[in-house]
């Protein structure tokens, strides 16, 4: 069979220095369902963005149907016959199915009027041709997500896509909807289409894919027929490390539980139970790692702990004192600090100086202000100290944050949060998107805090980080704890993988420390 798509030696480096694709080569055969798997940050989404023209590679070639092509924008991709269904659906919620499908290519009557009837016909036609039911006249916001996704697929088919890329399509579907989707995909395959399917639901990959490409660390590890691999094999390949990884020396200062979370549950605005009876402890002198694929409830958990979100049920206690209902400031004053997942949104005010960013949690405290008056001399001195101590590459404390690199911005956040020597540190994705040097520093600081008897809750999708730093690890999947590793000495990435990916789970497990 011919290859409909070939990517050769793709190199993609983002502006902040992060290498997303390194020497990536993939061949996709016509008329197959080809899955691409890998952890967060492995590079799969970047590769797809390159194929669909949203991003451009620095090096490498792409061949479509045998000819070399240059894809500089989504329009180019669409013209070639490539369609993409994004993870976050690109639909206008208040428009109907038919309107969304014909948007940009609207059928007209007398040149100025929208031919709504024809739009409906087109929708029905495409639906029938491919066996994908979608009511043309219903608004997107009134449709369940499975149907919305179908509309996205129809959009691509309407534009004569022959290669369909679906990015984590099942992450938003119920099992029933997933079944329907798979039927659809098989159908499309029978009609001559080729499908690329990005996922980390390994059971699904096994169910639907003909071929599997495993990516890790911006590289392609292997491409094999799906039949040849078991889910465990895939999980292994996804997270397996050839070289024995680094691990910090064990903690010598282990104490009693500092943070206790019991039965924490949270229902969000969409009425989804995002966290389900979550329970765990974090002891003084330890780093508790929370491993999991982004999107399983970690974001909400961290925000609840920091007081930025109110849970539906449950208890949180720091040194025995209840935290729920306290303001973010009170929680900080009790000794909990928070390195946020999204440093630009929450962690810094990028339009202003480093000094003003450093004092966010302490401007009103003694030493930085006297009554209502800010003591700028002290603040400047303190800033200079932090810049030196944390090795921040910035000309002075009066530098504007936005001019710093990502790694340095993260150092600003970490400097602020850790310099108050808090008892409880929550670090959410602390080294995401930063350079190796900064990453090293953050790890060193967390370890030093641990050695001093502080408690660290490390939430990360980066398995290397989890394995390197954690004293204990709990794995989150779908809002629940599915594994608890108390002795990390023999644990490898392959052990964690299956739990993170929902392939395996322990029953009745929590992160509590036995009394």
């Amino acid at each position: 069979m011919d290859n409909i798509l070939e990517a050769k030696n793709i190199l993609k480096v983002y502006e902040n220095g992060v290498i997303a694709n390194r020497g990536v080569s993939v061949s996709v055969e016509e008329n197959t369902i080809h899955a691409i798997v890998g952890e967060n940050g492995a590079g799969k989404t970047t590769l797809m963005k390159i194929i669909f023209g949203i991003e451009q590679a620095q090096e490498g070639k792409i061949f479509f149907k045998g000819s070399r092509v240059s894809i500089r924008s989504p329009n180019d991709a669409i013209q070639l016959g490539i369609g993409m269904v994004h993870q976050h659906l690109m639909l206008a919620p208040d428009l109907t199915v038919a309107e969304n499908i014909v948007l940009g290519n609207e059928p007209r009557r007398a040149r100025i009027f929208l031919d709504t009837d024809r739009a409906g016909e087109i929708t029905r036609q495409v639906s029938e041709d491919y066996g994908l039911q979608a009511p043309p006249d219903k608004k997107i916001k009134d449709l369940p997500i499975g149907v919305r996704q179908r509309v996205e697929i129809l959009k691509a088919l309407f534009r004569n896509a022959e290669l369909l890329i679906l990015d984590e399509p099942t992450s938003v579907l119920t099992p029933q909807e997933t079944e329907v989707l798979f039927k659809t995909l098989r159908n499309l395959k029978n009609q001559g289409k080729t499908i690329i399917f990005i996922s980390h639901r390994l059971n699904e990959v096994k169910q639907i894919a003909d071929r599997v490409t495993i990516m890790r660390d911006a590289r392609v590890i292997d491409t094999r027929d799906a039949e040849e691999l078991t889910e465990h094999d895939i999980a292994h390949l996804m997270v397996g490390r050839d070289i024995s990884f680094e691990r910090i020396p064990a903690s010598t200062n282990l104490g009693a539980p500092l943070l206790s979370v019991r039965n924490l549950s949270y229902v969000d605005d969409e009425a989804i139970l995002v966290l389900n009876k979550f329970s765990f402890d974090v002891r003084a002198g330890e780093i508790l790692g929370l491993a999991g694929v982004v999107g399983n409830g970690q974001t909400e958990l961290v925000r609840i702990l920091a007081g930025l979100l109110q849970p539906s049920e449950g208890e949180i206690a720091l040194r025995g004192e209840a935290l729920i209902g306290l303001s973010p400031r009170k929680i900080r004053e009790k000794g909990l600090c928070h390195i946020p997942e999204d440093r630009m949104e929450d962690g810094v005010a990028e339009e202003t100086t480093l000094e003003e960013n450093f004092i966010l949690d302490r401007y009103y405290k003694q030493g930085f202000s006297k009554g209502i008056r800010l003591l700028w001399k002290n603040i400047s001195r303190h800033s200079a100290e932090l810049i030196a101590k944390f090795n921040i590459l910035a000309p002075s404390g009066k530098t504007i944050v936005s001019s710093l690199s990502g790694g340095n911005i993260q150092k600003v956040v970490v400097a602020r949060e850790l310099s108050s020597d808090p008892d409880m540190i929550i670090a959410a994705q602390p080294t995401r998107g930063i350079d190796v040097g900064s990453e090293e520093m953050v790890h060193r600081l967390l370890r030093e805090a641990r050695d001093r008897g502080r408690a660290v809750f490390l939430v990360s999708a980066d398995l290397d980080e989890i394995l390197k730093l954690s004293t204990r690890v709990i794995v989150i999947y779908n809002g629940e704890i599915v594994a608890h590793f108390q002795d990390m000495s023999k644990v490898r990435a392959e052990d964690l993988g299956p739990y993170m990916l929902g392939v395996q789970r322990e029953e009745a497990v929590s992160g509590k420390v036995p009394a």
């Binding site: 303001s327 009170k330 946020p340 003003e356 008056r373 800010l374």
Partner: protein
């Protein structure tokens, strides 16, 4: 040289915008006036030519500074409350009611009248503040609407309860002399309000940049999620900055009444609230920059009046020029190409920005 340009780029952009405005005004004058040279002189130098006109510049600057400060405080927290005009009007009206109804020695009367005015304005601007903080109602629309409500309430109060029937026009009773804000330059109407305004500017500067509350306000403006994450009570900040807005604007209006007119004379709303927005934009919400911006604006306004009086060009030309200037200032991308090119050249030279 180029480094200097980059560092003060925003300031330079403002100056260029103003320069363009002045060029356009010169152009317009030449287009319209039968005696362009004379008209131009009247406009540009008019305020300097007589003592009373020069004094006018200071007299007019006073309420504008207050309103500019008021708006700046709210804008620094990214609260688009434009209710300075309403607070100013109602505050001055209530202060008038108080002033003419009470009698006490000047050293108590003056501060009390000011306080009554200021607190009225503060209470009035509290409304859009709480509506925004609690229910996310747009402070822009609510403050706008409340401007009109304040205007009508103030007008009702004066016309129906404190109207001086013996005066020729629709004005309030005269203030007792104990409630007069003294003037300190003979043959002018320059009153202590201008001193208060300058003091207020310094205080507001100090407040915004050297106090904890000022830091909270500015941080909320930079990034409200950041502020909240760090523990700042954003709810309180949203309300507080708007209350301060009302207070300052009302003081501005009240000092004007106490110093210039010594009775409530505004049948139409005086418009200082809108001037306040203009100088806040020109001064980039910085209290100390608002002072020169206010003088610039009031100079232009007086110049416009001279122009109007002495020549055949109407004063409204000033309004037009002002609006062009602020349009240029708010256009972030204005001259950005130029800045980009300079930045590139600097980067190539190896200078880290």
């Amino acid at each position: 040289m180029e480094k200097f340009l980059l560092k003060y780029f925003t300031l330079i952009r403002v100056i260029i915008a103003i320069a363009i405005g002045i060029v356009i005004s010169v152009f317009l004058i030449f287009l319209i006036s039968r005696e362009p040279g004379f008209s131009l002189r009247s406009f540009l130098l008019g305020p300097l030519l007589t003592r009373s006109r020069f004094a006018h510049v200071f007299e007019t600057a006073s309420p504008i500074i207050f309103c500019g400060l008021a708006i700046a405080v709210a804008f620094q927290a990214k609260q688009f409350n434009i209710g300075a005009e309403g607070s100013l009007y109602l505050g001055a009206a209530v202060a008038t009611a108080f002033a003419v109804s009470t009698n006490m020695p000047a050293f108590i009367h003056i501060p009390l009248v000011l306080l009554v005015g200021g607190l009225t304005g503060a209470a009035w601007s509290f409304i859009p503040g709480i509506l925004k903080a609690k229910w996310k109602a747009s402070e822009l629309v609510s403050s706008l609407m409340l401007n009109y409500v304040a205007y009508f309430l103030g007008l009702y109060l004066i016309n129906f309860h404190f109207r001086d029937k013996e005066a020729g026009f629709l004005v309030s009773y005269q203030f007792p002399e104990t409630a007069w804000l003294p003037r300190f330059i003979p043959d002018t109407r320059i009153h202590y309000g201008i001193i208060l305004a300058l003091v207020a500017a310094v205080l507001v500067y100090y407040f915004l940049y050297h106090t904890t509350t000022g830091y909270e306000i500015r941080s909320t403006g930079f990034n409200d999620r950041f502020a909240r994450y760090g523990g700042i009570n954003v709810f309180k900040v949203i309300i507080l900055c708007q209350v301060i807005l009302g207070f300052l604007a009302a003081i501005g209006g009240t000092t004007e009444i106490m110093g210039i007119h010594r009775r409530f004379v505004w049948q139409d709303s005086p418009g200082y609230g809108w001037s306040g927005i203009i100088v806040a934009i020109i001064g980039r919400n910085h209290p100390l920059l608002i002072i020169p911006a206010s003088f610039f604006l009031s100079y232009m306004q007086v110049g416009g009046r001279v122009l109007n009086l002495m020549s055949d060009v109407p004063a409204e030309m000033i309004t037009v020029i002002q609006s062009i200037i602020i349009l240029l200032i708010t256009a972030e991308a204005f001259l950005s190409q130029w800045k980009y090119r300079i930045t590139l050249r600097q980067a190539e030279k190896g200078d880290a920005v």
